[in-house]
Amino acid sequence: MKAYINEISYYLPDKVLTNEDLIKKFPEWTTEKVNSKLGIKQRHIASENETSGDMAIKAAEKLFELKSIDKDSVDFILFCTQSPDYFLPTTACIIQSKLGLRKNIGALHFNLGCSGYIYGLSIAKGLISAGIAKNILFLTSETYSRYIHVEDKVNLSIFGDAATATLISTDGFAEIGDFELGTDGNGWDNLIVKTGCAKFPKNLNSFDIDESGNLRSSDHLYMNGSNVFNFTLATIPDLIKSLIIKTKLQNNQINFFVFHQANKFMLDTLRKLCRIPEEKFYVDMEDVGNTVSSTIPIALKRLKQKNNLNKGNNIILAGFGVGLSWGACVMKIK
């Protein structure tokens, strides 16, 4: 049984943090840096009482309205987040209840970030191919804003909150094809929130600046940008090459590439290294920032709305980041 992306919708929280807001707070930060180098003008931030579960529900409700989808047809919930509502139970169960979905369905949440959308598609494809589910509600939702230190101007500039809902089904506009996945746990501490879980349950209150100038708080999101950057440069070009070989397609048969929208200069560098022509490389993050596992579905939705995706077009999606984790897949437009 083939698996298809049937429809995508997304939800952006109302509150917006603009570059002007950031520069007021950090006068040494410039619009040149944030706008032209990072490629971000603004990012949406979840309100104080708005959790990743709340946002995922809003994205799902938008999806149901879009296509007048019968909620009762959903037979599996897949939820990707690194900022769940509770340690337990899984937020996916709460989502089943709040959306009023059937009870004889599966629901689980998995913890991945920027590679999350690719992994979710791989799980969904497996469930459909095995005949375990037919209409999967795949949700991504993240509130990294909650993890970021108030003085961390780099991460405050990069990350935005958002949620997406994708219906993966036995029919749709894009057939989900082959995958290539990768993991390197040696890079575990390059993007981390150290405390609050089993290893370090209490705040450590440790705060310094690392050798690269990154703010490093044990109790907040820490990202060693240059290590993460070097990892993507070393890994992603080969990932794309391997996937294309696996699909037995020629390079020129790939019509679009939608990468995880991390930041503009990383995407520019990756595009050049992967030798992808500009017109095939979709970048769309100026008004939302890096929304972690939501960047790819938001970009894919916008690509579909803005371009004539023709029958037979091949699109490669690639996600990479925290873990370290990465993956890519190809889809064919029906």
Binding site: E32, K33, K37, L38, V154, S212, G225, A234, M266, L273
Partner: protein, 74 residues
């Protein structure tokens, strides 16, 4: 690869206000706009223009633009 061209490529990764201050003998870590983001922009430039993999630590082990140029050239 020429030092002059490398210095121009290097300069382009900095804020306008610092660009005019940069020459081959400049101790780049002393510049106002040297930070974690600029380090990554320099890594990106060196990779795409010179096809050379360099880490943040290696960049920091060099003091001047000329030393960085020599590091890549060796």
């Amino acid at each position: 690869m020429e030092l002059k061209e490398f210095t121009v490529n290097f300069m382009d990764q900095f804020e306008d206000s610092d660009r005019e201050k940069i020459e081959s003998k400049t101790v780049f870590k002393d510049l106002d706009s040297w930070d974690s983001l600029t380090t990554m922009l320099v890594i990106a430039m060196i990779k795409t223009e010179y096809n050379f993999d360099i880490t943040a630590d290696e960049i920091r082990s060099c003091n001047t633009v000329e030393e960085l140029f020599n590091f890549i050239n060796k």
